[in-house]
Symmetry: D3
Subunit: 159 residues, 6 copies
Amino acid sequence: MAVELTHLDESGRPRMVDVSEKPDTDRRAVAETTLRMRPETLEAILSGGGPKGAVLETAQVAGVMAAKRTWELIPMCHPIPITGVSLSFLPEPPDRLVIRADVRTTGKTGVEMEALTAVSVAALTVYDMVKAIDRGMEIGPTRLLQKSGGKSGDFRRED
Amino acid sequence: MAVELTHLDESGRPRMVDVSEKPDTDRRAVAETTLRMRPETLEAILSGGGPKGAVLETAQVAGVMAAKRTWELIPMCHPIPITGVSLSFLPEPPDRLVIRADVRTTGKTGVEMEALTAVSVAALTVYDMVKAIDRGMEIGPTRLLQKSGGKSGDFRRED
Amino acid sequence: MAVELTHLDESGRPRMVDVSEKPDTDRRAVAETTLRMRPETLEAILSGGGPKGAVLETAQVAGVMAAKRTWELIPMCHPIPITGVSLSFLPEPPDRLVIRADVRTTGKTGVEMEALTAVSVAALTVYDMVKAIDRGMEIGPTRLLQKSGGKSGDFRRED
Amino acid sequence: MAVELTHLDESGRPRMVDVSEKPDTDRRAVAETTLRMRPETLEAILSGGGPKGAVLETAQVAGVMAAKRTWELIPMCHPIPITGVSLSFLPEPPDRLVIRADVRTTGKTGVEMEALTAVSVAALTVYDMVKAIDRGMEIGPTRLLQKSGGKSGDFRRED
Amino acid sequence: MAVELTHLDESGRPRMVDVSEKPDTDRRAVAETTLRMRPETLEAILSGGGPKGAVLETAQVAGVMAAKRTWELIPMCHPIPITGVSLSFLPEPPDRLVIRADVRTTGKTGVEMEALTAVSVAALTVYDMVKAIDRGMEIGPTRLLQKSGGKSGDFRRED
Amino acid sequence: MAVELTHLDESGRPRMVDVSEKPDTDRRAVAETTLRMRPETLEAILSGGGPKGAVLETAQVAGVMAAKRTWELIPMCHPIPITGVSLSFLPEPPDRLVIRADVRTTGKTGVEMEALTAVSVAALTVYDMVKAIDRGMEIGPTRLLQKSGGKSGDFRRED
């Protein structure tokens, strides 16, 4: 098996991979997650101040702030000064809400984790804001849609 | 519609609900998520130092630390001094890994968000540790399994 | 002079005052600040999504989150698990916006600093959101309006 | 009205503006705030270990540390690795204390928010250190004095 | 061997021990470390603004702030709302500086880690403040002097 | 005395030294600390899941995460986006454990503090994980082994 786990050092203990020699390049990653909930929950979110209402606003602020702190949460992630984050919320009635994050930076490592963290925390925030009416809500699948920049090449999810 | 979103104040703007009057009670929440990956990725994780190997160790530490910081990530969450967190990793060959978190506290609010945050960050950490070999990995469904304590009553997922 | 600075120890160096012996009591503090800006800036804020629009939403989330982290910012502040935070925004056309925060806890120390930090960070966030059109905006006076709970007695600003 | 709020995306929800294409340039910002207090409070601060005494030392450390964490507090602020921060405290007897912060970086965005955050947290720290003797103290006006670097041009307050 | 590592769960992975059932009691811990440096470095520290000068002031603030954040740094530490922290600096000419921290809380777990973290970060801060003149400075031994409260009984170092 | 403390400004108050004019260069620092414990404690650590067991895994994750947050802990440290961190644990039976950290970046300032912070927090984590069986454990000497990059020249400890 050609598999190589670059996060494991010779003794099997985790380390933060040395990227000192990598050049700074433009990086971008887009990730997405989906919330499945009761139809009346989605209605409440969308009318709770409307499509720009408070639930989604709060989730968006939380997602942006979490993207910036990804390296504090994910142990072996490099600290990256991200240059742009944008979240969008796409209702899919009657019972789904899709959250998508688009993250950019100029740096030595990709921003997949930042995009995935942004949608994850945004989704957790939606859950928190409406859990009083729908504890059964489910989050996922959370996944990377695309990634560009860096020597590992571009990635684009096919399905 | 009888729906009431307790996070919205009269003007529709978010607030942290006042729980000053609520008594301190024992609280517990269990949440779970599932990672779906390529079979060779799961093999690598499980043999990467074995079932106690580095990927899962790192994910577990990350999950515990994230549980403690939930209130910093989720805007309207109350700060809670949690009294116990335990994560377990359950491989479901050939291509799934289930992560479960059990969180406890004695306080005025529940710990659902802490349990959900713990499994979410643990899953993101697994993704980070092996993304070099499997960018297509998917996280979810992330969901609450059970909750006890507090006046809103107990919750136990049926399916 | 009977003045006593409880934050200074015998050698003049700062310390976090020991409150171990103090009882847990209900505490509340209300603080306020005012932003002065160009009339068209206030119009933009109020119509930028309306009175519940994005500037104020973002500022409110930022203020609540900052209140929770006050003890990380103010060196000698005690960590306090606050039980409630509410911010309100009161436009005073043509050129002023008042921000008020009401913070509650059950604990050994007051929450004046939490209320003052909440309005300060909310005001800085408003500045950040519109600075591209009004760098001359001014923040203040920032001040405590009232405080209750604790043995030092209640406080209510007279002017 | 030519007003454009660059923090609002097409649907009115906040985003972190993409600055990927902006060049790294030298940036500097100077901000200031003023505390108004009772004359005996100012005397206590200045003699509480002298003009270099503990209140001002603590406030200065707090201000520098807060400048570094500005992007954690202000939701749509970009993370910036600041290269220098300096705070100065200028007593204006009998009842005022001016705090000024000078912040520098080499980066894609300005450091106005870092300078404003530094003086705000330094002022809150002064308040915290002496609030036991003067709860009526007021903070402000907090304002930007000057800014240089970046394509939006230099700014210098006239009054 | 009767040794039992309470931080390891059945599968050898770390967890945050559940202390839900433990009563809240008064806790106190005192820790100490020693810096060994060149004599002229100690002179510089002591005269750099005098014995209350800037190096020690900064180190003290850093130590107090770090004590509050111990649970963010040490993965399996419980979050504890500490009620008091005091650091003292004891010069031992010609070449030593002792730092001692006294931490208190009312809670379910001890504050040994908080006291040890306070002196460690205070010492690192001293190093940072004077490293330009003495990179060879050494920190340690860092150790617990005493601990009281809790069912594991009191501890007092004998040597 | 030619001693110059670059962290003190003209009035003796601390500041974050301005490094705007310094070029970005490759930086590296290696630091080390030693834990002295009872022989049965070292045995427990080494067999507690084996040499790759849970105590050392947890300590390694904690050390890496702390390295990234050094600038949040040490007041006058510059925020640095570190590009690599690696920790190693070297048992010296019967009663010692050496921890070494190797940190790299490309930036304007050195990474001595990051390496020293990494080993300090890793050591505190080891203490926390086994303190139930050995409260007398001692940490130190903690010291810089080598440093390269930057105009102050290279450093290599001789003893």
